[in-house]
C-alpha cells in the first residue's frame, strides 16, 4: 500500500502556528494565567517540533529550496506568497523556534499581563520566521515590519531601566534602516528587466549581471549595484548591530524583559544579517564584491570595540549585550570572505550566537529574578544556589570565547579560514584576521570576569536571604539550548553540511561577480 504524497505546507504551519496561537491566547479569560502560559508553551513547543521535523526531513544531498509553497497574492505587481527554505534559512528557522520555546519557559513567572506578553512573543516569532522563509521581496519586508512592533511593546511594557527610551530607540533605528533598505529594494524592482519581486527570478537576473548596469544619477553614470548595495546592506545591518549603527543594541537588549533580550540578541539580529545577505549580497553581488572588502573594517572595529566595552561594564546584562555586537561582527567578516568557507562560518555563527545569546540572557534573567540587581559588584556566589544555571552560563561563555569543542569555535574558525582563503580579494584581508583575533582573547576576559563576579565567591546571605534554585522549566530551557553547543562543537557536520548546500550558490554568484568585475 502506498500512501499518496500530500504536500504538507510545513513552512506555513511553522510561520502561522505562533500567529494563530497569539490570537487564540487573547481569547483565554484574563484571570486564567496558568492556562495562558500552558497554551503558549504548547504552541511554541509544537512550532519547535515542526521546525525540528523540517530540519531532519530536509534533503541535504539535494540542497536548494525545499518545502516550497507558492500562491498568487498580487500577481499584477509580481507579488506572491512564496516560501521555501535552504541551507541558510533552515538553521535560522530552527533557531527561532528554539528561542521562542525557551523564551516562553523562562517567562513563566511573569505576573504582569501574561496573556499579552506571550501573544506578543508569538507574534514576534511569527514575523521573524516569516522573514527567514520568504522568497518574495515584498513578503520578506512584510514580515520584517511585522517583527518590529511586538519588540516595542515587549520592551516598553515588560522591560526595565529606561524601557520607554530603549524601546523607542530600537524601533526608530530598525525602522529607519529597513525603510532605506526598502527603497533600495524598490529601486531594484524598477531597474529590473522583469518586473517581479520573486527572489528566484531576481537572483537569476543578478547572476546574469542585470543589476550591474549603469544608471544616471545627477548626470553621473554610476553602476546600479555600486550605488544601492551599501544602503541596502547597511540598512539591514543596523538590525544586525553593525558598528557604528549598533547604538540601539546595548540599551534595547538590557531594557528588554528576559525573553525579549533572548529574542533580540538571539534572533532579531540574525534577521538583519540574513536580510542583508539575501537582499544585499545575493541580489547585488557586484556591489558586494565592490563594497564588502571595505565594510569589513566596520566589523573589525565592532569586534574589538564591543569586546573592550564589555570588559568594563558594571551591569551584567550590558556585558552580554555588548558582546552580541562583537559576535555579530564575525558574521559580517564571514560575509566579506565571499567564499564557501567564510559564508558557512557566518551562517553557523548566526545559529551559534543565537543559541548562546539566548542562554546567556536567560541565565542573567534568572539571576536578576532572584537578586533584583544586575550590578556585578553586588552579585556573587550564585553558583551555590543555581548550579545548572551556572553551568548554562559557563557553556554559553565557552562558546562566546571560541573554545574548541563548542559551536562558536567551529563558526569563528571557518570565518577566519574563509578570510585567509580569500586573501586574493584584498591585500588587507590577512590583517582583518590579525586585527579581529584579539577580540577572542578579550571575550575570554569579559566572560570570566562576569562569571567570577556573578557566580563565584561568597553569596551575600544578608542581601539575598531567600535565593532559590531556578525552576524545573528554567532547567528544561537551559538544557534545550545547551545541547546544541556541544552537538555542533563535536559533530560540526550536523550543521555545516546543511549550511554548505545553502551558501554554495551564493559563493558561486559572488565569484562570478568577481570575475566580471575584473573583466
Amino acid at each position: 500500500m502506498t500512501i499518496p504524497a500530500v504536500p504538507i505546507p510545513i513552512l506555513s504551519f511553522i510561520v502561522f502556528t505562533p500567529l494563530v496561537g497569539a490570537l487564540l491566547l487573547l481569547l483565554i479569560p484574563r484571570h486564567q494565567k496558568d492556562a495562558a502560559r500552558a497554551f503558549a508553551a504548547a504552541v511554541s513547543g509544537f512550532t519547535l517540533l515542526l521546525a525540528l521535523w523540517a530540519f531532519v526531513a530536509y534533503d541535504r544531498s539535494a540542497g536548494g529550496y525545499q518545502f516550497v509553497e507558492r500562491m498568487s497574492w498580487l500577481p499584477q505587481l509580481g507579488i506572491h506568497y512564496y516560501v521555501g527554505v535552504d541551507g541558510v534559512s533552515l538553521p535560522l528557522v530552527l533557531l527561532s523556534a528554539l528561542v521562542l520555546f525557551t523564551g516562553v519557559l523562562v517567562s513563566w513567572n511573569i505576573e504582569d499581563r501574561p496573556h499579552e506578553l506571550f501573544a506578543f512573543m508569538l507574534l514576534l516569532a511569527s514575523g521573524i520566521m516569516g522573514v527567514f522563509v520568504a522568497r518574495n521581496l515584498v513578503l520578506l519586508f512584510f514580515f520584517y515590519e511585522i517583527a518590529i512592533f511586538p519588540k516595542y511593546f515587549l520592551i516598553a511594557i515588560w522591560g526595565s531601566t529606561r524601557k520607554e527610551y530603549a524601546a523607542m530607540k530600537l524601533v526608530l533605528y530598525t525602522l529607519v534602516g529597513s525603510i532605506i533598505a526598502l527603497v533600495g529594494a524598490l529601486a531594484l524592482y524598477f531597474v529590473s528587466p522583469v518586473r517581479t519581486f520573486d527572489m528566484d527570478v531576481l537572483r537569476e537576473l543578478a547572476a546574469r549581471g542585470a543589476f550591474a548596469r549603469t544608471v544616471e544619477v545627477f548626470g553621473q553614470a554610476v553602476r546600479f549595484d555600486y550605488l544601492w548595495f551599501l544602503p541596502v546592506f547597511l540598512g539591514f545591518a543596523v538590525t544586525a548591530g553593525l558598528w557604528p549603527f549598533h547604538n540601539w543594541v546595548p540599551d534595547g537588549h538590557s531594557a528588554a524583559p528576559t525573553a525579549g533580550s533572548m529574542f533580540l540578541a538571539g534572533v532579531v539580529m540574525k534577521v538583519g544579517a540574513y536580510s542583508a545577505l539575501r537582499v544585499g549580497i545575493e541580489l547585488m553581488p557586484g556591489g558586494a564584491v565592490y563594497w564588502l572588502p571595505v565594510v569589513v573594517f566596520l566589523a573589525v572595529v565592532a569586534a574589538l570595540y564591543s569586546a573592550a566595552i564589555s570588559l568594563v561594564q558594571e551591569d551584567l546584562k550590558y556585558v552580554i549585550a555588548f558582546s552580541s555586537i562583537g559576535h555579530m561582527a564575525f558574521v559580517t567578516i564571514g560575509f566579506a570572505a565571499m567564499n564557501v568557507t567564510g559564508l558557512t562560518g557566518a551562517v553557523l555563527q548566526m545559529f551559534s550566537h543565537g543559541v548562546m545569546a539566548a542562554i546567556l540572557f536567560a541565565v542573567v534573567g534568572m539571576v536578576y529574578d532572584q537578586a533584583h540587581t544586575r550590578y556585578l559588584a553586588h552579585l556573587g556566589g550564585f553558583a551555590r544556589v543555581m548550579p545548572l544555571a551556572t553551568l548554562g552560563f559557563i557553556l554559553g561563555g565557552l562558546v562566546a570565547m571560541g573554545m574548541p569543542g563548542f559551536s562558536g569555535f567551529v563558526a569563528e574558525f571557518q570565518v577566519f579560514a574563509g578570510i585567509w582563503a580569500a586573501r586574493e580579494t584584498a591585500w588587507w584581508y590577512p590583517w582583518v584576521v590579525i586585527l579581529a583575533a584579539p577580540s577572542i582573547a578579550l571575550s575570554a576576559a569579559y566572560i570570566l570576569r562576569a562569571l567570577q563576579a556573578t557566580f563565584f565567591g561568597d553569596l551575600d546571605l544578608k542581601r539575598y536571604p531567600h535565593v532559590r534554585d531556578v525552576t524545573a522549566l528554567d532547567k528544561v530551557a537551559i538544557v534545550t539550548l545547551a545541547v546544541w553547543f556541544v552537538l555542533i562543537g563535536v559533530f560540526p557536520r550536523v550543521m555545516t553540511d546543511l549550511i554548505q548546500t545553502g551558501v554554495e550558490p551564493i559563493a558561486s554568484l559572488l565569484q562570478g561577480a568577481m570575475v566580471a568585475s575584473l573583466r
Binding site: 564557501v340 574558525f413 591585500w427 583575533a437 570570566l448 563565584f456 557536520r493
Partner: protein, 514 residues
C-alpha cells in the same frame, strides 16, 4: 588487536574514559562523597591500565605512528579525527595516566563540592591525553584548549583562598593569548597549503609539504610567513613550558592551585609545551628551528639560573617548589634547543640525540618529582594551614616518615645519582656540552643553586628546633603515602635502570632527524 573484526579504538578509549567518568560523577547525588571518590579513582585507573597495555604493545622496531584511528570530522576545512602514538606520546600518556589517580587519591580530603571537583579533574585528563594522541592540528588545538577550562575552575574554585581568582585569571589569559597565536599559525598553514582546495591539518602531510613550500601568501614571501608561524608556535609553546621570560603565570598558578591541581600542572601541563616543540615545531620548521636554536638555548639557561635564584629567594614553600619547575624545565628546553640546532647541522646529530633523549626523560623525571613535591607540600599545608617556611621547623621529629619521603623526593628533584632526575640532566648536559659549551657550563653552575634552594627548604621544614605550634602534628597518612609511593618507585627504577624507558623515547626521537 581487533574487536568483532574492527580495529580496537584503544586511543579513543584511553582519551575519553575519564570524560565518561566525569559525566557519570556529575549525575550522582551531591552528598555521596564516597561514591564520587570511588568513581573518580576507578575511571582514572582504567586509562592507566590501558596505557600500560599500550606501552607493552608498542612496536619499537616500526617507525612512524601506531594504533592509528582516522575519521573525517569536519569536511569543510578538511579536518580529521586522526589519532596515533609513538614512543614519546606513549610515555607522556603513561605519565598522565599515572599522575591522575594519584591526584585523585591526594584529593580525597576535598570537602567543598567534591562532585564537581572530581568531574573537572577527570575532564582535565581527557583534555591532556587528547593532545598527546592527536595527529591533526585542529584536533590538537581543540584538546589543547579544552584542558584549560577545567584547570581554570580547579584553581579558581578550589585554590588557596587569598589569591586564587587572580592566579586563575592570569593562568587562563596567558595561555589563551599563546593559543591565539597557535590558532592563527594553524590557519596560516592551512591557507598556505591551499585553503579550501588542498589545505590540510594532517600533521604528517603538513610536515611533508610545508617545510618545502615556496611562493607567496597574499603577496608576502613564504619565508616571512613561515617565520611568523614559527614564532607564533614557539611563543605559544614557550608560555606553556614555560620558557623564561614567559613564565610569570607559573608561580601564581602553581602556588594557588589545589594540591592535585599543582601536581597535574607541574607534572603534565608543562610537558604539553615541550611536546609541542618536539611534535610540531621541529618537523614543520627544521630550518627556522636550527636558526633560532641558540636563542632558545639562551632562554633555557636563563630559566635554569633565574628559576633557581628565584626559588632560593622564596619564603613560601609551595612557591619555592613552583619556581623549581622553571629551573628543571630549563633543562628540557636546553635539550630541545640542541635538537633544533642539529636539524640544520647534521654533524652534531649524535650529540643532539643524546640531549633530546635526556630532555624527554627529564619530562618524565620532572613529572614524577614535581608531582611528588607538590603532593608533599600539600600534606604539610593540610596540617599546618601555612606555607611559610619560617613557620615550620623541626618537623622531622614529629613526622619521621614524612621527613624521609620529603628528603627522598627532594633528592630526586636535585638530581642525586641513582634517581631519575640525574640520568635525564646528565644526558642533556652531555649532549649539549659540545654544542653550546658556554651555556651548558652556566647551566651546570645553576645546578648548584638548585641544590642550595632544596637544602634551604629541607632545613627550614625538617630541621632546627620544633616549633611548639606543631607539637601535636599527625604523621603522614597511609593514603598520602600511597599517593607518593608509586612516584618514588619510578624515580628509583628510572635512576637505576633507565634502559626500561629510553629505547621507547629514542625510537620516536630518532625520527626527528630522519
Amino acid at each position: 588487536m581487533t574487536l568483532f573484526g574492527y580495529p580496537f579504538p584503544i586511543l579513543t578509549l584511553i582519551t575519553f574514559t575519564p570524560l565518561l567518568g566525569a559525566g557519570l560523577i556529575a549525575l550522582t547525588p551531591r552528598d555521596s562523597v564516597r561514591l564520587h571518590r570511588g568513581l573518580a579513582l576507578f575511571f582514572s585507573l582504567i586509562p592507566l591500565a590501558l596505557s600500560v597495555w599500550l606501552w607493552l604493545n608498542l612496536d619499537l622496531s616500526r617507525p612512524g605512528f601506531q594504533f592509528v584511528e582516522r575519521v573525517v570530522w569536519f569536511p569543510q576545512v578538511n579536518a580529521q579525527y586522526y589519532l596515533g602514538v609513538d614512543g614519546l606520546s606513549v610515555m607522556l600518556i603513561f605519565l598522565t595516566a599515572l599522575l591522575t589517580p594519584l591526584g585523585v587519591l591526594i584529593s580525597f580530603n576535598i570537602t567543598q563540592d567534591p562532585r564537581t571537583y572530581f568531574a573537572l579533574f577527570l575532564a582535565l585528563e581527557t583534555g591532556i591525553l587528547g593532545v598527546f594522541v592527536s595527529l591533526d592540528l585542529l584536533l590538537f588545538f581543540l584538546f589543547w584548549e579544552l584542558g584549560l577550562v577545567p584547570m581554570y575552575f580547579l584553581i579558581n574554585n578550589w585554590g588557596a583562598p587569598e589569591r586564587r581568582h587572580y592566579a586563575a585569571l592570569k593562568f587562563i589569559l596567558y595561555t589563551m593569548a599563546g593559543s591565539l597565536g597557535l590558532l592563527l599559525g594553524i590557519q596560516l598553514i592551512w591557507a598556505a597549503l591551499g585553503g579550501a582546495q588542498g589545505g590540510t591539518f594532517d600533521l604528517l602531510e603538513v610536515s611533508r609539504r610545508w617545510p618545502a613550500l615556496q611562493g607567496t601568501l597574499a603577496g608576502v614571501p613564504m619565508e616571512v610567513v613561515k617565520a611568523i608561524v614559527f614564532w607564533a608556535f614557539v611563543i605559544a609553546f614557550a608560555i606553556k613550558v614555560p620558557v623564561w621570560p614567559f613564565h610569570t603565570w607559573l608561580p601564581d598558578a602553581h602556588t594557588e592551585a589545589p594540591t592535585a591541581g599543582s601536581m597535574i600542572l607541574a607534572g603534565i601541563l608543562l610537558k604539553l609545551g615541550a611536546y609541542g616543540f618536539l611534535r610540531i615545531v621541529f618537523p614543520l620548521f627544521p630550518m627556522e628551528s636550527a636558526r633560532f636554536a641558540l636563542v632558545l638555548a639562551l632562554l633555557a639557561t636563563a630559566a635554569i639560573v633565574f628559576g633557581a635564584y628565584a626559588a632560593l629567594g622564596q619564603r613560601d614553600f609551595k612557591r619555592l617548589v613552583a619556581y623549581s619547575s622553571v629551573n628543571h624545565m630549563g633543562f628540557v628546553v636546553l635539550g630541545i634547543a640542541v635538537a633544533g640546532y642539529a636539524l640544520g647541522n647534521p654533524a652534531i646529530r649524535d650529540h643532539a640525540l643524546i640531549a633530546v633523549n635526556g630532555a624527554a626523560l627529564q619530562l618524565f623525571a620532572h613529572g614524577l618529582s614535581s608531582a611528588a613535591m607538590f603532593a608533599l607540600v600539600g600534606v604539610i599545608y593540610d596540617r599546618t594551614h601555612t606555607r611559610d617556611l619560617e613557620a615550620y621547623g623541626g618537623l622531622w621529629a614529629r613526622m619521621p616518615v614524612y621527613g624521609g619521603i620529603l628528603i627522598y623526593c627532594a633528592m630526586a628533584s636535585v638530581g642525586l645519582p641513582g634517581l631519575a632526575g640525574f640520568v635525564a640532566e646528565y644526558m642533556v648536559v652531555q649532549g649539549a656540552w659540545p654544542v653550546f659549551t658556554a651555556l651548558t657550563a652556566i647551566a651546570m653552575l645553576g645546578l648548584l643553586i638548585t641544590g642550595a634552594f632544596i637544602m634551604k627548604a629541607l632545613q627550614k621544614v625538617l630541621h632546627g628546633p620544633l616549633n611548639p605550634r606543631w607539637a601535636r602534628l599527625p604523621e603522614i597518612s597511609a593514603r598520602e603515602i600511597l599517593a607518593v609511593a608509586p612516584l618514588m618507585a619510578f624515580m628509583l627504577l628510572t635512576g637505576l635502570w633507565p634502559a626500561w624507558i629510553v629505547p621507547t623515547l629514542n625510537a620516536a626521537l630518532a625520527q626527528l632527524f630522519g
